[in-house]
Amino acid sequence: MMTESRLKNVLTSGKFAVTAECGPPKGADPEVVKSKGKILRDHVDSINVTDNQTGVVRLSSLAACALLKAEGLDPVLQMVTRDRNRIALQSDVLGASALGIRNILCLSGDHQSFGNQPQAKGVFDIDSIQLIQAVRKMRDAGEIIGGDKLTGAPQLFIGAVANPFADPFKYRAARLATKVDAGAEFIQTQCIYNLNRFKEWMGLVRDLGMADKVYILGGITPLKSAKMAEYMAKNVAGMDIPEEVINRMKAAPATEQRQEGIRIAVETILALKEIKGVHGVHIMAIEWEEAVPQIVEESKLSPRPQA
């Protein structure tokens, strides 16, 4: 069984990394996770598994990561602070490492009011930055929050998220720096459709000296239709889809819109490869994992390195 993070190895060897997202099913069938893994295998370095995204109950991220790991893949465990307190979070960090999972992505999580359990109590005992710091301390100092020693430290490559498109804009780069200070080693960004604003944000990130301290993976979500673009622009918090992208999708005939969405994704990736400080891409093809191999291929990112 592989015991190292493939994602970390690809990034530290200076190669442009490719990761993809796998949303677990709203059910207990492990085959759904495995079949998504099968589609993505050989086309990406690592697979990031969401943790009850948008507050909707799904098969657990930890279990889905373990299933992917057993298939020989390199999973990235998403862990949100919305649903578990520091006892449960730290316990799951240890469990993840014990199962051979080598990457973790720390987030606060979408607010529970957006999901299918709006009456749930939001935990938020700690926030994403405190989780990053806690995991880093567990790994490097073998200590949990409060200072108790672990009998064995978890081995995890630690990630965080950044949204260059949310407000207050100027503070967003500083926030990334705080996440790096807390211990984040790689960053996944929100989906990029507004390249100009992303470039502006990367400039601020470089000015803070962060481009050499953390690996930044640009977020890519291929649009399936003009309707999806309009829906996301309007309803998904923190999403920035410029009018011209929506118009471009609308201009394509209905049967061609998926291909247009892939073309936009590929063009964005090709542009990201040229931006200093961008170390890879994270492709979030929502319930459309089949699109990933084509996007990777056309972005001239295949074959993936043996790491």
Binding site: H111, S128, I129, Q130, A166, P168, Y171, R175, A237
Partner: protein, 222 residues
């Protein structure tokens, strides 16, 4: 202040169904300020209950009383002379007041007429907003006097989540993003550097560590 809202009249009527002689007791403090349980609201609710009883042919007897504070024994004691004459007390106090009265009169049936909601301020006429959770460890000094525990929907201590857009909270566009307020206020007062520090996990034991909290001060116990 502690804010509250009156329960729907239907729920109050259902609770009162088994009773005939009702003592309606208001509180002249916080819940009077938020127009939920003061003397005026006691009068309005009592009238509504009398009219409803008349319309449905039920005979009831209501007495109205409003204490200055329903959470302090000295004021609760005003009920001692009259309380035994009634089948039930309908309290328009906050949850603390309801329980304080129940504690003093263990054999009396006491029902809440309000839903106690939050610690807040009177923003404008008819608008109250929550701005304190009573966490027992106030950090307003480092957050430019904007409480992230209360006013950020996720209670984040280290900056805004990824959903804040044009200074609104992603959860409710009617609510300003607390972190946008904190960042702007710190920026305007030249203290943005306060945010480069990572704030450690909060000590929630000060809020809920060992069940209900108490404050005990020897200097006040004479």
């Amino acid at each position: 202040m502690i804010t509250a809202e009156r329960k729907p009249i239907k729920e109050i009527k259902e609770m009162l169904a088994p009773y005939r002689k009702i003592l309606v007791v208001g509180c002249g403090s916080c819940v009077a300020e938020c127009a939920a349980g003061g003397e005026k609201e006691v009068g309005l609710l009592s009238s509504a209950l009398r009219m409803d009883a008349k319309a449905s042919g039920k005979e009831i007897e209501i007495r109205e009383m409003t204490l200055d504070r329903q959470c302090v024994y000295e004021f609760i004691d005003q009920l001692t002379e009259v309380i035994d004459q009634y089948d039930v007390v309908l309290s328009l106090a906050c949850g603390a007041g309801v329980q304080a009265v129940a504690e003093v009169f263990p054999r009396v049936h006491i029902l809440p007429a309000l839903n106690t909601t939050f610690l807040g301020e009177t923003k404008e006429a008819g608008l109250w907003v929550e701005n304190c959770r009573g966490c027992g460890d106030c950090k307003l000094g480092v957050f430019a006097a904007v409480c992230p525990v209360t006013r950020c929907a996720k209670g984040l201590f280290n900056g805004p989540c990824g959903g804040s857009k044009t200074d609104r909270c992603e959860v409710d566009p009617d609510v300003p993003c607390a972190w946008q307020l904190i960042v702007s206020r710190l920026e305007d007062t030249g203290r943005l550097d306060l945010l480069r520090k990572v704030h450690p996990p909060a000590d929630w034991s000060k809020q809920q560590g060992k069940g209900p909290r108490k404050i005990k001060r020897e200097d006040q116990r004479t």
